[in-house]
Amino acid sequence: MSTIFWEISKRNIRLHMLRSSLAMLGIIIGVVAIASMGILGNSMVQAVSASLSSVGDSVIVMPYVGGGMGFGGGGGGSSANLMLTDQNYQQIKRVVAPNVAIPVHSTSEHMRMGVGSDDIVATIYGLPPDQTKDILPDLSAGDYNNGNSGCLVGATFATDHNVKVGSRISIGTDGQYGTLRVTGIIKERGMSFDISTDNAIVVTKDWFESTYSDQDQYNEVVVKVTSGDTADVKTTIENQLNRNIKQKTVTVIDSKATLATIYQTFGTITTFVTAIGGISMLVAGVSIFNIMMMSVNERIKEIGIMRSIGTQKKEVMSMFIYEAAIIGVAGSLIGGVLSLLGGYAISALMLKTTQYLFTLSSMLSVVEGVSFGIVICILCGLYPAWQAANLNPIDALRHE
């Protein structure tokens, strides 16, 4: 590094401290905007990823609702049109073998924790006891329920209603469906494609069918894919059950593909908000360009003197690039530090958690923001520097 030109650049920035600081402020804002938005986007992806990851490789089969065309007949009313028949289930079970197909009943129901307690409305899922563990592999307390007098409860449900293993829940508005004893508490699962148990209770299939006389009709069938690819399983089910294109029977959701789409969507959102941050960086770049042009115009005579006593064009150019780089590096590094604070604040406000702030992808956002800031500054300093270097020494010396 040519120390004298570096020194002149530093001193010129110090001489015009206010102007340089304002340009630096623009870069700081640009870096903070880009990096904070990046941190927010990445934190969102990771938060969603953490809550969805427990789903694993599942394919969820639901009654076809598109275009208002249902299947199964009878019963009248739209609810009957939103159920899978046992025949559908048997077909699914057969085509997805050796993967496990689990029929799921569900309904909303009134319930109370004890005599005199408040009426609660929550979802009740009915699952075959021998397959419950396939969908819900983790309990935070207690054990699985094998009998018709017991149930499992979701983590949020348990916390909100102070439910423990052994607690009793009275089902129905007046308790007309009897009382169930809590045998276990399901570990928090977050959002899921198959069943959302956090604020629900899970009973046996038999209890559900006998209570609601709802035999041979299921709300959905969950296929846990342990053999083969989820996309293949989805296609197999669709080929088998939706042969009639005009009258489809089922809607099949591939959790893995849906997850990928969600990540892609979040990626797009992150890119979009980061691009908005990028606009502020471009504005900052224009401000750098402006002060560099001012710097060149103020120092035309100095440039003429330098050139006349033997300074090469590239040395004049380096002096102005150093100046832009000093502003860029300092502004970007300060912006990088502040963007961590900004990312912390935005994550805390919008995601209610800051646990994803110091992850690799969030840190990469900061590195990207800082690098972008430095590159923009140097690029915006290039033209003024080039112009300074290519001034005619005779004209520059005459400049007043």
């Binding site: 004298i4 002149i8 003197i305 050139r307 006349s308 006593i309 033997g310 005779i394 010396l397």
Partner: protein, 232 residues
Amino acid sequence: MTLESLPGEDPPVLVFRDVVKVYPLPAGDVTALDHISFTVDRGEFISIMGPSGSGKSTLLNLMGCLDTPTSGDIFIGGTRIGDMSDIELTNLRRDHIGFIFQYFNLFPLLNVIENVNFPQMLKSRSKVDEKKAVTVLRAVQLDEHLYVHTPLELSGGQQQRVAIARALINDPDILLCDEPTGNLDSKTGASILELMAELNRNGTTIIVVTHDPRVASYTSRTIQIVDGRIEP
């Protein structure tokens, strides 16, 4: 191309041979220098005089390798400058020519020592002889306590002494001065001219472009230029 000289003899420091400089302008070509020829030998102290618009500035620019002639040859230290690239001309200015300007033209962001060392740093970034700057500053009789001051803290005469020291630091073949006393009071101007005369006595070749006859009185030869031609 190099200038031929007798064996064992140094070539002249500066040779102008039939030099023409024409500026093409929309209203028609302007001939600033019209077939100029002269030679400056090592150790001479020459003044170039002429009225405004006579071509002094053009001549100065050509002598300082800031410009190239339309036709004719210019030799600096025996080397022809006509075909040189910008990089070569810049190196020639750095290594062989010392500039002294009417308005001193020191770098305001650098202190005295840094200003004087600047051409040295251009020549050799890694090997700057710090003692040399002090030696040269002593030669131009600048008080040592001023070495760390910036140009704006110095008087005009002191600034011109620093400018002379800066011009001398790379041991140039020619010291090229453009109205060196034009911005100084007569007493200070006289002291600067005394200094230049002393430098010349010590072997430095000096060319002064001026329209001040008092400056010319210090020199050993005067070239008069009128309408782009040398007066006989």
